[in-house]
Amino acid sequence: MSKRQAYEAYRKERQDKRRPDRRMCSAMMLFFFSGFLLISLKNEIAWQGLALSIVVPALIYVATMWLPRFFPADKLLLSIANFLCALGVLILYSTDLDGGTSRGIQQAMYYGVGILVMLFCIMLVRYIRRWSFFIYVIMFGAALLLALPLAIGTEQNGATNWINIGGTSLQPSEIVKLALLLVLSYFMSRNRLLPWLLFALFSLGVLMLQKDLGTALIYYFTALFMYYAATGNLLMTGFGLVGAAGASVAGYMMFAHVKKRVAIWRNPWMYYETSGYQIVQMLMAIASGGLFGVGLGLGSPRVIPVYFTDCIFAVICEQFGIIFGVLVLVMYVIMILRGTSIATSARHSFHGLLALGATSMLGIQTFVIIGGVLKLIPLTGVTMPFVSYGGTSMVSCMGLIGLLQGVDSLNRDDLSYDYEISRSLQETADLPDADNR
């Protein structure tokens, strides 16, 4: 090797090390390391926090740098999803400290499980070829799982959507989200209207029976979005929108609690003593944070009811400020952009619809919860994707990312396959127009 070649090799290595994904990963690891360190040294030394300051950055490294060695991946999407998951762990741990709860530790475990689920979903999309058989397995399994709470469910916050299996409780409607996407996109890509309509109506009906209105809303709009994407039928989509509007007006007229929700949304201060309490507390928390926040681990997040799930965005705004809150929104927007790009570069309409469904589900859910927290729309009890406390929510969100990454890895495989073909064509055939770009 000549001197010059050695130098070139050295430079290439240096450039490799400076790759942006590496830098982003290091920045994230540093952010969470210092964040957990700060909280655990706040009062007396909290060993759990110190452990998390190592574990969470390690999980980030595994998920964003190590796993992509085994299949091509969209690292930006992956990094943002992991950042939000770790942010949830950080916020939950910071609120644990003076409350004696252990949600931070649990959320870190769920995060680990989430990474495994993501991996599983990537495998699913990547390696299953006989969908014509598997889709029915998924469909009937999901239908059964979804209907299970009606038989053995427990009631939480007015909705019967939880089941207890061997000491752990889980919310089937969250996990069935993944099945919904697979089933809808499979049948839509094959233009088989009846099966997907039946499945969608069945899921919506079951959710209505369970009074899980927030999730029903997300299911409905995801199905509607996918229907428009697959058929381009504006008329029917318009009917769908009008139907949704009609249903909400009817709901407003018929149910007293829907009326109350809307009244609270219009003026929460009037109902402070009773039902407006939550939203007033959220608004005051956001206002206390101001532009730059009161600081990590400070403020009083625990006065907000369900600060750890529905209202966690208010806690983020209080501790990090509204600017950071807007940046979190921007992260979701970037995820949606990446998801759309994955959907548009898919080769099969099944994969394209799957990626689009996952993307729109993510976007709709984010809008429903953040819009609710900021009092743009009435608050409905859905979780904030990746950040909210909860195992099932984490599983479904990481599963969504898994589906997206699966489609993306196939796209990238296809691209490199194309590249190989064009290369071999260039080498073998004497094509007149083949240039060497």
Binding site: F225, L283, M284, V333, L356, I364, I370
Partner: protein, 474 residues
Amino acid sequence: MKQLRFRFRALALIVIGLLTVAGVYGVYSVSTYGSRWFSNARNTRYQSAKRTVVQGDIIDRNGVVLATVDEEGNRVYQSNIKSRSAIVHLIGDNEGNVANGVDSFQANYLLGFETSLTERVTALLRGETRRGDNVTLTADSKLCTAIVDAFASGEVSRGKAGAAVVLNYQTGELLAMVSLPVFDPMNISETVTQNTQHPFWNRALQSTLPPGSTFKIITTAAALENLSDVESLIFTCTGATQVMDQLIRDYNNAQHGEITLARAFRVSCNNTFSQAALLMGDNALRKTAESFGFNDNFLFRDIVVENSVYPTSSRNDVEVAWSGVGQSQVAATPLHMCMVAAAIANDGVMMEPRLLSKVESPSGVVRLKYSQKIYRRALSAELAQKIDGYMKDVVERGTGTRAQVDGLTIAGKTGSAESAANGQNVTHAWFVGYIDDDAYPYACCVFVEEGSSGGSVAAPIAKTIFTYLKNNTK
């Protein structure tokens, strides 16, 4: 797949659009309402901050310290019980009974939420307790005490509830704001909490009341704008105008006969102004009222004021006729009526009322300095000068003669507003007016609940205020 791609992008745009709306709305609402949400009495955050941060002082325009902290870090007010009671609604009390006093509405300064990171770190390294910023007000606390005294010395106004506001109409500085009855913030007894006059209620900012004849300033402005030759028009006052099935009567059933608008303003003839209101119609009157700030969402930087109302629903002639004399669901706060008078004095320009003159950190960093801002132009300078002439007439030889002060040109308008309270009709006394003198550019509004007559009950209190201003300001 190509068509699919187009639709994918369209759908993604919709979702991104929704999220953008959420973000923009969030930033907008926090920047507009954030300080109001934060300073809410229900916010436990600044209550708990009081334990770790030493509250800053509140100082009036003459350097009198209105509120400070003792060695243990507790809030203490002036030692003179009368002085600290007079400004209790301006400052607020430590238990949060009075809404949006300086002590709570400016908590972000007083409790050091605006302190920058470097300042906090410096304080930490020096081992100092964190101190909040000191707030200097535009208000004159002695004037507030004088106003409370003036209420007490009036035969009718003694013991009555009421409010008074004094503004500098050229700059918008709030010189005084008093709500009666007052109470001692350091000793809130059972007699205060049980008092049916509701001492905690800040009537100057929170009570929207029928402005009665003081609203004729706005009716006049609307008439001059909308009715040509209204100045030469002769109205007929028989003491009671029949509108549909109801009679619009004058105060004390006075009969003025044939009367011009100028004279009607001077003697406060209800019949004339009802007829004028019917002539120009509800919409014209509402438009002028809205240009004076009615139906606007008041978002002043330093004070929280209840919004004034001019009804927007379609109404019958009786209601429109009553609106012309400031009744029938027309409602405004004493502060807003003071701003109306101030706009006439300031050639039609309404200044934003401001209360903070300076905010300074203990180490001398100036965080905020007074800056004046135009709230809105209420009417043209030409019209303002015309109404200015009418208002001077009122004090010179009309219903407001008891507001006259030797050596000053005073302009004003009295009002006796009827209101139903506990099933009974009661009459509130109003006076709005100002000194027409560039050396004393002050406007005031006096409101006496159940004071019956604006001319004989509210105007003398305004006279005391004007006299004080003449003797005590440069």
